[in-house]
């Protein structure tokens, strides 16, 4: 684990989304944005703890996952602008970011739907004996879906090499978890299945890294699947780039409490504490900003797909 690299990735993701916020009002990125702001530590830590050959599956809120797993900012921005240089030639947009060549396999706009697909990939890995782990990311809304339980059951039944990652922000769109779940603790329920369980409420990327590395080690030894339950706070509205505290389903005070332990902020503090010089960090941040600005300009100037592309790739 390289703390500097981890911080770079965190900063790259946050910087990318800040750029999206700045440019979204231009109305050129015509795709519904589900912003990652607040969840960065979970994604960056887990991707860092996994190996490159390991597969990840995400959701419609996968800006962070895409960038952490692939580092492909050009494909990312171009996809948001609907350009032919995008990760899916502009056809998929923000909700379907994927780059299978980098093992960023699949994301989906329907809650919970990539979970069984990830389980299938884990089954495939087990059959092919290739020692690759699958990590599937989903929110607390997804565990309301029957398919989550079907998938968990099958993964435990077949003892598949898969890490279920529940990124719990207490909200399914605007519905609070207390209005949706009839059990006391998801960890308790899942612990009755034949799998490993871990959980944390920290926003410290290095803590989550340790937790993940530890559970991955146990998975390898035991051959069991694992379930990680991690809390975070969604900074922005469910879809869009604005704050939504005035709509009264949650409070600004709550946000401000979480903002004090912002994942990028505390990772930066950690670097300073371990002796990295502030100037070094500032230069690094500047370079990332420049790189991002260049990438977004490239995306703006890129071509749209030809009209004939409407009819391609329906069948393989």
């Amino acid at each position: 684990m390289n703390p500097l690299e981890i911080y770079k990735t965190l900063y790259l993701i946050r910087g990318s989304e800040e750029l999206i916020i700045n440019h979204y009002k231009e109305n050129e990125m015509k795709t519904p944005m589900h912003m990652s702001m607040g969840e960065e530590a979970i994604v960056v830590a887990i991707v860092a703890a996994l190996q490159k050959k390991d597969l990840v599956f995400g959701t419609y809120r996968s800006h962070a996952l895409y960038l952490a797993k692939t580092g492909d900012i050009d494909g990312f921005f171009a996809e948001l602008y609907g350009k032919v240089t995008g990760s899916a030639r502009g056809k998929a947009g923000s909700m379907h970011l994927a780059k299978p060549s980098k093992n960023m396999m699949l994301t989906s706009a329907v809650v919970g739907t990539t979970i069984p697909v990830a389980v299938g990939a884990a089954l495939s890995n087990k059959i092919q004996k290739n020692n690759r782990i699958v990590a599937t990311f989903f929110g607390d809304g997804a565990i309301d879906e029957g398919v989550f339980w079907e998938s968990l059951n099958f993964a435990c039944l077949k003892q598949l090499p898969i890490l279920f990652v529940c990124e719990d922000n207490n909200l399914a769109i605007h519905s609070h978890i207390k209005e949706r779940q009839g059990y006391r603790s998801i960890e308790q329920v899942v612990s009755q299945f034949n799998c490993l369980v871990g959980s944390s409420e920290t926003t410290d990327v290095f803590e989550i890294y340790k937790l993940t590395a530890n559970i991955l080690e146990k998975m390898k030894k035991s051959g069991k699947p694992a379930f990680l339950h991690l809390k975070y706070y969604r900074y922005l509205e469910h879809v869009g780039v604005q704050e939504d505290f005035s709509s009264n389903y949650r409070s600004r005070e709550e946000y401000l409490r979480w903002k004090k332990v912002d994942p990028i902020l505390i990772a930066r503090k950690y670097l300073l504490k371990t002796g990295v010089k502030e100037e070094e960090i500032v230069i690094m941040e500047k370079n990332i900003n420049l790189k991002l600005q260049k990438s977004i300009n490239k995306a703006k100037n890129a071509l749209y797909p030809e009209e004939t592309e409407l009819f391609t790739d329906i069948y393989g």
Partner: protein
């Protein structure tokens, strides 16, 4: 001498024929593909039990429990599992003993598997075969006897096949397994017992090719699945009672649809009846009727007639079931109307033969 030679060649042709059932043809295609390609595996609810899905999964134990296994009752997740396996290099065959159960998996099928290639701009493929059994049995009622080919064919990204002969069952299933897209294979349960000539070696029939089941010059009957059996019976009677030569086009593949063969036939006969084993309203028969009307407008001597299910559910009681399902008699009567023929006396003709043979409970 010439006579003997002729007899001998007939004998050779006869000997070359290899008559097996549709069920055996499905089984043979599966086994041969699993032998040829180690990435092929078969799973589904109760595929390994003593009944082996009407015998079609018989003998697959030899491939081991990793490549042949039963599943929990989780149709949606298991379809997702098939997709996950498919995008990572395997070729799953997922089997449902009733197409009705596939409705539990529509999210994975339509939102996910069908859209995989498009959403990834062709970076991912989903080579999945989904076999689903349809059809009338013995009081199966509204939740055990749907067909749904129209529904599946409506979705871009899916292919849909409905073989009606053992020869097609083997060739089309083999092609489906080798195809890089999700292919729904819809099998009418009564067809499983049909016998026909099937070569022993593996072969494929391209998806998207219709087949002229019976040549004729007077009227075209476009049929799907079991309706081919009914149409064939109708054609025999139409010939004997009226001297009418009906041409039957077995579409075999619902999507991609080979409408060229249909159009060519209708341009020859000038009349068209579509006999589909599904609901008529917004059904596959409407698609065929629309295409024939567009492409044969000047040659059609009368509007295209559809013979399909009424807009109601399948009843359980036999009397209403008989009323629900169109059959050879329905087709004969429609042909007579089209060609302005007097209704033939059908007393003494043997209809519903399979239905009468069938005994419960399932």
């Amino acid at each position: 001498m010439r006579f003997i030679q002729k007899r001998l060649s007939y004998l050779l042709i006869y000997m070359a024929k290899r008559i097996i059932t549709f069920e055996k043809a499905i089984n043979e295609a599966t086994i041969q593909e699993m032998e040829r390609d180690s990435s092929v595996f078969l799973f589904g609810l109760d595929v390994t039990d003593h009944k082996k899905i009407f015998g079609t999964t018989q003998g697959l134990e030899k491939f081991g429990k990793v490549r042949f296994f039963g599943t929990p009752l989780s149709e949606d997740a298991m379809t997702g599992v098939a997709l996950g396996a498919a995008i990572t290099g395997l070729r799953p065959i997922h089997v449902h003993i009733r197409v009705d159960f596939l409705l539990l998996a529509m999210n994975q099928l339509i939102n996910m598997a069908a859209a995989t290639s498009y959403n990834s701009a062709g970076q991912l493929h989903a080579p999945i075969v989904i076999r689903a059994v349809i059809g009338r049995g013995w009081g199966q009622g509204p939740q055990h006897s749907k067909s749904l080919q129209s529904l599946f064919a409506h979705i871009p990204g899916l292919k849909v096949i409905m073989p009606s002969r053992p020869y097609d069952a083997k060739g089309l299933l083999t092609a489906a397994i080798r195809d890089n897209n999700p292919v729904i294979v819809i099998e009418h349960r009564w067809l499983h017992y049909i016998e026909g000539d099937v070569p022993a070696e593996p072969y494929t029939i391209p998806l998207g090719k219709s087949h002229i089941l019976r040549k004729g010059k007077d009227i075209t009957i476009v049929a799907t699945s079991w309706m081919n059996v009914e149409a064939f019976k109708a054609a025999e009677i139409l010939l004997s009672k009226h001297g009418v030569e009906a041409e039957i086009v077995d579409v075999r593949t619902i999507y991609p649809l080979d409408d060229e063969t249909i159009v060519k036939s209708v341009k020859k006969t000038g009349y068209c009846i579509v006999a589909d084993y599904d609901w008529e309203f917004c059904g596959f028969s409407a698609e065929v009727a629309a295409r024939v009307s567009e492409k044969c407008f000047t040659t059609l001597k009368s509007p295209v007639k559809r013979v399909a299910f009424p807009h109601v559910f399948t009843p359980t009681t036999r009397v209403l079931e008989n009323k629900f399902y169109p059959n050879a008699v329905t087709i004969i009567r429609e042909v007579e109307k089209k060609l302005s023929l007097k209704e033939a006396d059908l007393q003494g003709e043997d209809f519903y033969s399979w239905e009468n043979k069938f005994r419960g409970p399932f």
